[in-house]
Symmetry: C2
Subunit: 323 residues, 2 copies
């Protein structure tokens, strides 16, 4: 019988955090690429554009004028998917037709007054200001809502047409679907094994090493064993931290992350998911389409191969290396 | 208190088939569109291109020459994500690192010898040949594999760079993730209510009417109550049919559909999911990005509004109405 090699033999892997399976078919990377090629990234973004609604001093769609902000800038999304006062749909009349109330708040946070930077191009104190702003918006909205989701849609491939560096914060009166799955898994793991799932997972990855991308005194970055996106990574603090506001000043100078809130959440471990849409290069993306939507996520290189490629990347940001 | 109106007030809905929630924020459609606009569809595809590997008589990447086929044409995918003979990864050494064997077969099926047609432009007897071919490939691969997934990635937005009308058939030794969820839900519903979930669901939608798109003697097309994609639809046979090969000749002349296989599957109802990537028009797509990937699916118009727009579409295919 042939010996199993993950990089040659397709197999399925289980994601214990989100209770999902992924098909890993690394041999697919051998095929020639005949598919779609994306336009190269826009590199000539003006530092300030008075017509860009995210710039300091610009007028937004609703007529409000932005302040001449110099650090981060947080404001209410002009077209929020979640509003604080929606009435309840009332009781369901049939088990197959269940609707429930949804209330919340959507905010936008600009990271920097300049349009021509992104988080990795900002200075550590500037990034630290973003992390502090994430911690305080989590605290503020978390006082009222059980879930505060911070996310960044970055680049045209992710549907973001505004190059100005910014993220969104959506707080909701309900635990969203993915958070519910992570809640269930982490709660069950803690009650069975007596410690948080992601604490044990981080420890194991430190021992196994082949999926690690970066480690620092306070943080781990790794390609999860069950990664779905080709270069998906997971950011984890090295000690048990449930929420952003619990991070120490030294940890905040380390790296960015997501958020959550609630009652007894000792089974939770703060973490951030990164899902870059790329497959082979900056212009060849991974399409999660027919099989993925109808059947199961499928990836074309192993998480270990992805981690190796990510580790081998230069320390210098590609835009700074260019000139 | 304000009266709840689904088209004005955000709320969440439950998908009892796949055990998932979706956030419905219909008021979002009021915002002006400033985002990405896709290139218009290619309408000038040559009927025959000797360099297109899917055309009759063309040479494929592996050197094989296609026959001069006149109807459908089924062949093995040259770069299959699933192969019949992968060894097993062996037992897991830790509950957070679980991998299992995956075996299977990937096939490609051309629908027609011409590159310039799509299913809706084909004649009924030509479509019928496709459905018969789906039924027989399901029967053939279903004898060996528990799941046979038929899917079509249609158009550049869905990562399909070859305009020649074709679909894929991936059979696997495991029940894929989505199928597992549908299996669990349908089995539980049948044991609790004594009838298949989708039979009761179809009956309810026929009574409620506002999500119906098309009904015929044998089939229903509707926008599910829990639809995630803006114009997602579900195709259901009107009687209890578990698998494609069980369809009668009259039903096969009706409409196309997906597939499944196994032991006692009386709780299953054959169905096809359609997930068009569009939001506002043929060139403005829906991006399922940050919030959807990290938290929960979110849609910008209600399923009822989508059904209304779909019902109002002309009977004539847009390409035929053009000239
Ligand atoms: O049809 P292809 O080119 O083999 O592949 C396409 O469909 C597959 C199944 O949905 C996806 O995994 C790929 O990312 C996509 O590019
Ligand atoms: O940031 P926008 O433009 O409001 O919206 C973008 O992110 C949202 C949250 O992930 C998605 O629902 C939208 O489809 C996407 O276009």
């Amino acid at each position: 019988a042939t010996t199993f090699r993950a990089s040659e033999h397709q197999h399925i892997r289980y994601n214990p955090l989100q209770d999902e399976w992924v098909l890993v078919s690394a041999h697919r990377m051998k095929r020639p690429w005949q598919g779609q090629v994306e336009p190269p990234l826009l590199t000539t973004v003006p530092r300030h554009d008075p017509h860009n609604p995210l710039c300091p001093g610009a007028t937004r769609a609703n007529g409000e004028v932005n302040p001449h902000y110099e650090g981060t800038f947080l404001f209410d999304n002009d077209f929020p998917a979640l509003q604080p006062d929606a009435p309840s749909p009332g009781p369901s009349d049939h088990p197959l037709f269940q609707a429930e109330a949804a209330r919340g708040v959507c905010k936008v946070m600009c990271f920097h007054p300049w349009s021509d930077v992104t988080l990795p191009l900002m200075l550590v104190p500037e990034i630290r200001a973003v992390i502090d702003a994430w911690a305080s918006v989590t605290e503020e909205l978390g006082a009222q809502y059980p879930w505060v989701q911070i996310f960044e849609n970055k680049g045209a491939m992710m549907g973001c047409s505004n190059p100005h560096p910014h993220c969104q914060v959506w707080a909701s009166s309900f635990l969203p679907d993915v958070a519910q799955r992570e809640e269930r898994s982490q709660r069950a793991y803690q009650s069975q094994h007596g410690e948080p799932l992601l604490m044990e997972y981080g420890r194991q990855e430190l021992l196994r090493k082949d999926r690690l991308v970066l480690t620092s005194e306070h943080w781990l970055v790794l390609v999860p064993f069950w990664a779905v996106w080709p270069f998906q990574t997971l950011l984890l603090p090295r000690r048990h931290v449930r929420r952003l506001p619990e991070l120490t000043p030294a940890e905040r100078d380390g790296a960015p992350m997501g958020s959550e809130a609630g009652a007894n959440w000792d089974h939770w471990q703060l973490h951030a998911h990164y899902y870059p849409p790329l497959l082979r290069s900056a212009t060849v993306r991974k399409f999660m389409v027919g099989y993925e939507m109808l059947a199961q996520a499928q990836r074309d290189l192993t998480p270990e191969q992805a981690a190796e490629r990510l580790r081998a990347l230069p320390e210098v940001h590609y835009r700074l290396g260019q000139k």
